[in-house]
C-alpha cells in the first residue's frame, strides 16, 4: 500500500505554530498535528474523509495547546 495525496501545511492555533500533515492510505485519511517548534506530536487521527481527519486532529491540538501556560521571563 502506498500513501497518497500527502500534504503538509502550517497554521496557527491558540497562538502556536502547528504543522498539519495529511495523507490517504487505502480508504482512510490520516491527519497528524505537530507543534512546529520543537516538533512534538500533538494529535493523530484516522478518519473516512480528509475533512473529518483534519478537523479532529486540529480540535485535539487546540485543546492541548490552549492549556500551555506562558510564564513571565
Amino acid at each position: 500500500m502506498k500513501p497518497e495525496n500527502y500534504t503538509e501545511r502550517k497554521l496557527e492555533i491558540a497562538g502556536w505554530q502547528v504543522n498539519l500533515t495529511v495523507y490517504q492510505l487505502g480508504e482512510k485519511w490520516h491527519a497528524k498535528a505537530d507543534n512546529v517548534s520543537p516538533g512534538a506530536s500533538l494529535a493523530r487521527v484516522v478518519a473516512d474523509t480528509r475533512e473529518d481527519a483534519e478537523q479532529r486532529a486540529l480540535a485535539r491540538a487546540e485543546e492541548l495547546l490552549s492549556r500551555t501556560r506562558r510564564h513571565a521571563v
Binding site: 500500500m1 502506498k2 500513501p3 503538509e8 492510505l25 507543534n35 517548534s37 512534538a40 501556560r69 521571563v73
Partner: protein, 290 residues
C-alpha cells in the same frame, strides 16, 4: 558539495527501498508516537518503543546492557548486522537508539535520512501488518557501555562552572528562555524554566531541511560554527529528556566530525528540578553580547 565527516552512517530512502530486506540488514522504526508504526511502516521494518524498550523502566536510565543484548538478539541482530534506524519527528528517537547502540559498541548503525516523513511524502510502499524478526541464532554480546558519549550531571556542573565545554540547548527558544516549561501542548515536567547558565540556544530542527533530511555540511558548519563549535571543541548537548539532543549529538559527531561531544540525557527534566542548580532565564548571553 563537501561530504559529511562520516557519510557511511546515513542512507537514503531509495537505499532502504532497495536494500531494506537484504539478509544482513535490519530496519527498525522508532517513533515519538509509538502507534505510528501500526498505521504503516517500511516493508520488513520492525518497531522498538522508546518508552519501554529503549530505557530502564524502573530506574531512570538507558537500557541496561543485558536488556540491550536481549533486544538485539530478539530483533535478529548480530554483531555484523547493518542496522538502519528511522522514525517520526525527523528521526528524534532513531537518533536516541543510534546513541545507545554506539554506547554498546554496535559497529554498523545507520539512519535513514529524512525518516518516516520523507518516506511518506515520497509515496513509498508501506506494510500495515507488523513485521517480525527471527531471533538471532547466537546471543548478542555488547561492549561498553562507552560513557565518553554520555554526560552525567556532575560533568555538566563542571562544564558550567569552568566553561570546559560548549553547552548546546537544543530545545525551542521559548523553553530556553523559560517562557514555557515544556513543548507547547505537553505537560510541564520541571519546577523551573530557563537554561543552564552560559548555554547556547541552537534548536535541533535548525539542522534539518523542510523534507526532514539533514542540512548540508556547509550549512551545518555555519550553524554551529557561529556558536564556536569546531572539530576539537568539547560539546555537551541537552534538551528536556535527551532525545532531541541525541539528534544534535548525531549531527555534531557524525556529520560535522566533532571529536568530543556528549549527550546529557538527564537534560532539563534533571537540571530544572534540582534544588540549588543555577538557572539563567531569557535569551542566551552570546545573543545579548551580539
Amino acid at each position: 558539495m563537501a561530504t559529511y565527516a562520516h557519510p557511511e552512517v546515513l542512507v537514503s530512502t531509495a537505499w532502504v527501498a532497495d536494500h531494506g530486506k537484504d539478509a544482513n540488514v535490519r530496519v527498525v522504526e522508532i517513533d515519538v508516537d509509538t502507534k505510528a508504526y501500526d498505521e504503516g511502516h517500511v516493508p520488513g521494518a520492525i518497531a522498538w518503543a522508546w518508552n519501554t524498550q529503549l530505557c530502564d523502566t524502573v530506574v531512570r536510565d538507558i537500557l541496561p546492557k543485558d536488556k540491550f543484548e536481549a533486544l538485539m538478539t530478539q530483533s535478529g541482530i548480530g554483531a555484523d548486522t547493518t542496522v538502519v534506524l528511522y522514525g517520526d519527528n525527523n528521526n528524534w528517537f532513531a537518533a536516541w537508539a543510534f546513541w545507545q547502540m554506539k554506547m554498546y559498541g554496535h559497529k554498523d548503525v545507520r539512519i535513514m535520512d529524512g525518516g518516516r516523513k520523507k518516506w511518506l511524502s515520497e509515496g513509498r510502499d508501506l506494510d500495515t501488518q507488523p513485521s517480525t524478526a527471527s531471533p538471532a541464532s547466537t546471543a548478542y554480546q555488547a561492549s561498553g557501555p562507552d560513557y565518553s558519549i554520555r554526560a552525567f550531571l556532575a560533568q555538566v556542573h563542571q562544564a558550567e562552572k569552568s566553561n570546559g565545554a560548549i553547552l548546546i540547548d537544543v530545545r525551542s527558544p521559548q523553553e530556553f528562555t523559560g517562557e514555557i516549561l515544556a513543548p507547547p501542548g505537553l505537560p510541564e515536567t520541571c519546577q523551573r524554566g530557563g537554561h543552564i547558565p552560559g548555554a547556547h540556544s541552537v534548536p535541533w530542527g535548525k539542522a534539518c531541511n523542510e523534507d526532514g533530511t539533514f542540512k548540508s555540511l556547509e550549512d551545518l558548519q555555519k550553524l554551529y560554527g557561529a556558536e564556536g563549535v569546531s572539530e576539537s571543541t568539547p560539546v555537551i548537548a541537552y534538551c528536556r529528556i535527551g532525545e532531541r539532543s541525541s539528534h544534535t549529538w548525531f549531527v555534531l559527531k557524525y556529520l560535522l566530525g566533532v571529536r568530543n561531544v556528549q549527550n546529557y540525557d538527564g537534560s532539563w527534566t534533571e537540571w530544572g528540578n534540582l534544588v540549588g542548580a543555577p538557572v539563567e532565564k531569557g535569551v542566551a548571553r552570546q545573543a545579548v553580547r551580539a
